[in-house]
């Protein structure tokens, strides 16, 4: 207690505590609250990381004199570096590094904690044994030499190697094992609890504006050029060079252009959606699922290309980056203001638990969401996706979506499904429920066509893949905007 009081009075400790609090608040805001602007988070994470590095560097010079302080400081630095690493990698769009930081940091954090637990248990055990040696009395021992320890009195303290449950044979080994197992179980338990913690409600606002769900029409104007006519006398003495019929060129000047309409839904200034907000943006959200490679072509150079193309072709405001959410995170979205489209891709397993399936059912049925599946490279994924949909919508059968369906004609006419490779066939499948497509499945890796390099396919194909992407995103957002308005009018959640 005295040690704690004296610690609290130390200035360095006070500074450290304040830093820790600020860091914890920034962390909570980044993960769950989403209140602070990005610039503040940059500042907090950057400055605290820098300060911790400086403290560690400073302390490293005197680490031989006070090793415990140095290693304590170093250990506190680990979660700071871990989270800062993940945060800045995410901000920079370095998804691969983000994943390495996230997993590696967790492993280092676990090992660091384990080392401290082992050290603390050992220190305490040595202290107890030292005390016991001081109190050693040979006569007492001789009088009770045949009696077992446990018969004297049962020691319950787990830090004491003589505790009865560690046994007679190798109590120190059992104590270490106990420390390791208890720590691991506790670590996993806390991890599970934190992963279930969903934080505050998230919102996905549509960009304000209006527009029509019209097909982009190609307008061809043919301008007739009236050629000057000369009246010539064929019997004239003057020899005119009369051109042969074949030499006469019909001069048609084709003016070809796309007629752009304001894309969106409802009435409002600029391209957007009625009922949207000025801060609202169109985002590209994918599902982070266990079991496979959900992050195929994720972020800059991947699905971000699609989002930028969507902005270019529709004129709507889009988010600064694409996002990925787990099913649990998806649940934290508001009942109405949630992402209209959820992209799922990969080429391996989709291992969703019953809770995840329930969340996706709720997402489709109650939150009016739409799933956009994309086969990232195998027949296996095709089967995985179909069976996942069978679990989500057991009463709806997948059908081949007609090429004249609005999803294939507005805003762009898609005459034939463009694909990189027909991993799951050549036809797009759809799940139709309550008057709309609730899921669209692209069988041929559309995400790869959007990515940098376009998987080596011809321009016609990747350009069409972008158009199809715009159609699907536009369809999902318009359907959601209509539903949001209906909810508003009927006094729904909003």
């Amino acid at each position: 207690m005295n040690l704690l009081k004296s610690l609290c009075k130390q200035k360095a400790f006070q500074v450290g505590a304040v830093m820790a609090l600020v860091w914890l608040f920034a962390l909570a805001d980044w993960l769950w609250i989403h209140m602070l602007p990005d610039s503040v988070l940059h500042l907090v994470f950057g400055s605290i990381t820098g300060l911790v590095c400086w403290f560690v560097y400073k302390q490293s010079k005197s680490r031989h004199e006070d090793a415990i302080v140095f290693w304590s400081l170093f250990s506190f630095g680990i979660p700071v570096w871990w989270h800062a690493g993940v945060y800045f990698c995410e901000w920079l769009g370095l998804e691969v590094f983000r994943a390495y930081f996230a997993r590696g940091g967790l492993a280092v954090f676990f090992v660091t904690g384990l080392i401290w637990v082992v050290w603390a248990v050992e220190q305490h055990a040595q202290k107890i044994e030292a005390l016991r040696r001081q109190a050693f009395n040979l006569e007492n021992v001789l009088t009770r030499k045949k009696q077992k320890r446990s018969v004297d009195h049962k020691i319950w303290n787990p830090l004491d190697p003589d505790a009865w449950y560690y046994g007679q044979k190798s109590p120190r080994l059992n104590q270490s094992l106990n420390g390791f197992v208890s720590y691991t179980v506790l670590f996993c338990l806390i991890g599970m609890i934190l992963s279930q913690f969903q934080g505050c409600t998230q919102y996905y606002d549509l960009p304000a504006g209006g527009g029509e769900n019209q097909a982009v029409q190609q307008v061809v104007k043919v301008q007739k050029i009236i050629r000057k006519k000369f009246i010539l006398n064929p019997y004239s003495a003057i020899n005119y060079n009369t051109p042969e019929l074949d030499d006469v060129k019909l001069e048609l000047n084709e003016v070809t252009a796309h007629r752009y309409t304001k894309m969106g839904f409802g009435e409002g200034d600029g391209a957007g959606f009625a009922g949207g907000t000025s801060d609202g943006t169109v985002g590209f959200v994918r599902l982070e699922y266990p079991g496979g490679d959900w992050n195929q072509d994720f972020g800059i150079g991947g699905d971000m290309n699609m989002l930028l193309k969507y902005a270019e072709l529709t004129g709507q405001k889009v988010a600064k980056k694409t996002k990925a959410y787990s099913a649990a995170q998806l649940k934290t979205f508001d009942g109405v203001r949630c992402p209209p489209l959820l992209y799922i891709t990969g080429q391996r397993n989709i291992s969703l638990g019953n809770n995840d399936i329930k969340i996706l059912q709720e997402y489709i049925n109650d939150k009016h969401g739409m799933i956009f599946g994309d086969n990232g490279g195998s027949r296996h994924f095709h089967n995985q996706f179909i069976s996942m949909m069978q679990r989500i919508l057991p009463d709806v059968r997948p059908v081949r979506i007609p090429t004249d369906d609005p999803i294939h004609t507005r805003p762009y006419q898609i005459a034939r499904i463009p694909y990189v490779a027909p991993h799951g066939g050549e036809e797009a499948l759809g799940w139709f429920k309550d008057g709309r497509w609730v899921a669209y499945y692209h069988p041929g890796d559309i995400g790869d066509a959007w990515a940098d390099g376009h998987a080596g396919v011809s321009q016609d194909i990747w350009a069409n893949c972008y158009r199809l992407g715009v159609n699907i995103m536009s369809y999902a957002h318009i359907q959601h905007a209509k539903w949001r308005l209906a909810q508003k009018q009927s006094g729904g959640d909003e």
Partner: protein
């Protein structure tokens, strides 16, 4: 769900009123009468369009149908051209346009033509095909109401049954099946649909343990001997499911009794000729098979006893009984029956087989050696079986030794023994020896395929690639596979 049932009932009552002088042609065909009424020029143009349609060149066919419509709009076949134009759109996967601008136009412009009924049905079917099940259901109901005398009403009913099945609406499903099975007069066009519904209904009733109802359903399709056969065919699977479940076992056993009793009544009793005897034996076997599904051992054995009493101790019947004992793992009883066979060689070979099934190699070998003595003419075959028995228990050296001796002694079948020897060597991981033996086989490309596999297992990739190359060059059917293997080998 209740409203659906009500709608179904309404449509069914409509249908029951209809006197089914059902339609004349298939959905995509026009009747000969109408073809005959056409002018030569019209027929010529329609034939061109039909030709492209049959060749699945739907976009070209569409233009030809359009041409027909613009040239001969007033003709009798105009509605048919419009219908086929819509079907082209359907095949080009523009179903929404097909419904709105195609099928609907047939109904609107030619409401009295035979094609209007087809168009009405196709609207429902197309809606279902593109996932608009509720619209499809409505369209089917309208078809039944508007064209009750036409075959499309039956097809629509069948479509409604599919929807009910998908929606797990059992009540509606059974009602529709009943109507299709019992109330619709069957024609050439609708007979298949009704018969399928009747069979489905029978399966459903068997699954519920309602034997008389199931029998009534089957009676609408089959009579006499065929009826008994189809009872046997349809009752087994539901019976197995019912008996396998503790809660429904009683129902299952009752169903088994009823089915067996029915099959018994229909057994052929006239055994005067060989043909009749064979027929009766088949019926007996079917009856016993149903007993087997009921998992009542005593009843199965009793049935076999009755059969033996009726037909005498025929090897076939005794073999079937012994096989049943084997399936119940009563090997000794089975063998005692096999040994009573009139055909001693067959009996002994069955005995050896039963030892092999029991993994009793020594006894099996003894019997095979005995067989080689008894049936000296086929001694090589029995030695081959002996070697196969060794392979089964992975005693490869003994098997290889026998196969080697067979290659030397049985020159007529040397290829067969070489192949068996090579395969055994491969399984024994004697890959180099296996390659050498496969090389002597003459069944290209299979031997090259196996040799390449052995080379790959030995990490001799170049040799494997050479062999795959030879397969590509000489075997058209295996070339794609070999090309793929080349890729895998490089990988």
């Amino acid at each position: 769900m209740k409203s659906l049932s009500t709608l179904m009932l309404m449509t069914l009552s409509w249908l029951s009123l209809a006197s089914p002088a059902l339609a004349q042609t298939k959905i995509s065909e026009m009747s000969l009468d109408r073809w005959a009424k056409m002018r030569e020029v019209e027929r010529y143009q329609l034939n061109i369009a039909e030709k492209y349609f049959k060749e699945k060149k739907y976009d070209v066919a569409m233009s030809e149908y359009e041409k027909y419509l613009s040239l001969y709009e007033q003709s009798d076949a105009a509605s048919f051209a419009q219908l086929k134009w819509s079907l082209c759109l359907n095949n080009l996967r523009k179903q929404n346009t097909a419904i709105k601008e195609g099928f609907q136009s047939v109904i609107d412009y030619w409401p009295d033509s035979p094609d209007a009924a087809k168009a009405s049905y196709l609207i429902g079917k197309t809606f279902v095909d593109i996932g608009r099940v509720s619209y499809g259901k409505k369209a089917y109901q309208e078809t039944i109401a508007d064209f009750p005398d036409d075959a499309v009403a039956v097809y629509s009913l069948s479509g409604l049954a599919e929807i009910a099945k998908q929606e797990k609406d059992e009540t509606s499903l059974v009602k529709i099946w009943k109507r299709l099975a019992f109330d619709i007069e069957r024609t050439k066009l609708t007979g298949g649909t009704c018969a399928t519904a009747a069979n489905s209904l029978a399966s459903y009733y068997f699954g519920k343990g309602a034997f008389p109802d199931a029998l009534d359903s089957l009676k609408t399709n089959y009579k006499d001997e065929r009826l008994a056969y189809y009872v046997y065919a349809y009752v087994r699977s539901p019976l197995g499911t019912l008996v396998g479940n503790e809660d429904t076992a009683t129902v299952g056993l009752r169903l088994a009794d009823q089915a067996v009793s029915f099959l018994k009544q229909n057994l052929e009793t006239d055994l005067s000729t060989d043909e009749l005897k064979a027929k009766a034996q088949t019926q007996w076997n079917q009856m016993i098979e149903v007993e087997k599904y009921s998992r009542r051992d005593d009843k199965v054995l009793a049935a076999y006893r009755s059969m033996l009493a009726t037909f005498g101790n025929l090897d076939a019947i005794m073999g079937s009984l012994a096989d049943y004992h084997v399936s119940q793992k009563r090997f000794d009883q089975a063998r005692s029956i096999y040994r009573q066979f009139k055909d001693k060689v067959l009996g002994l070979s069955k005995v050896a087989q039963s030892y092999r099934a029991e993994a009793n190699l020594n006894e099996a070998i003894k019997v095979y050696k005995q067989l080689a003595g008894v049936d000296a003419e086929n001694a090589a075959t029995w030695q081959g079986e002996e070697a196969a028995a060794y392979v089964e228990v992975k005693q490869y050296p003994q098997a290889i030794q026998i196969y080697r001796s067979l290659v030397a002694s049985d020159a007529l079948n040397s290829q067969k023994w070489l192949w068996a020897l090579a395969t055994t060597q491969r399984d024994a991981n004697l890959l180099k020896e296996a390659i050498g033996t496969y090389r002597q086989c003459e069944n290209f490309p299979e031997n090259y395929r196996q040799m390449a596999g052995c080379h790959r297992a030995l990490k001799e990739y170049k040799e494997a690639l050479v062999l795959y190359g030879q397969i590509i060059g000489r075997s058209e059917s295996l070339a794609p596979w070999a090309q793929l293997q080349v890729g895998y080998t490089f990988e």
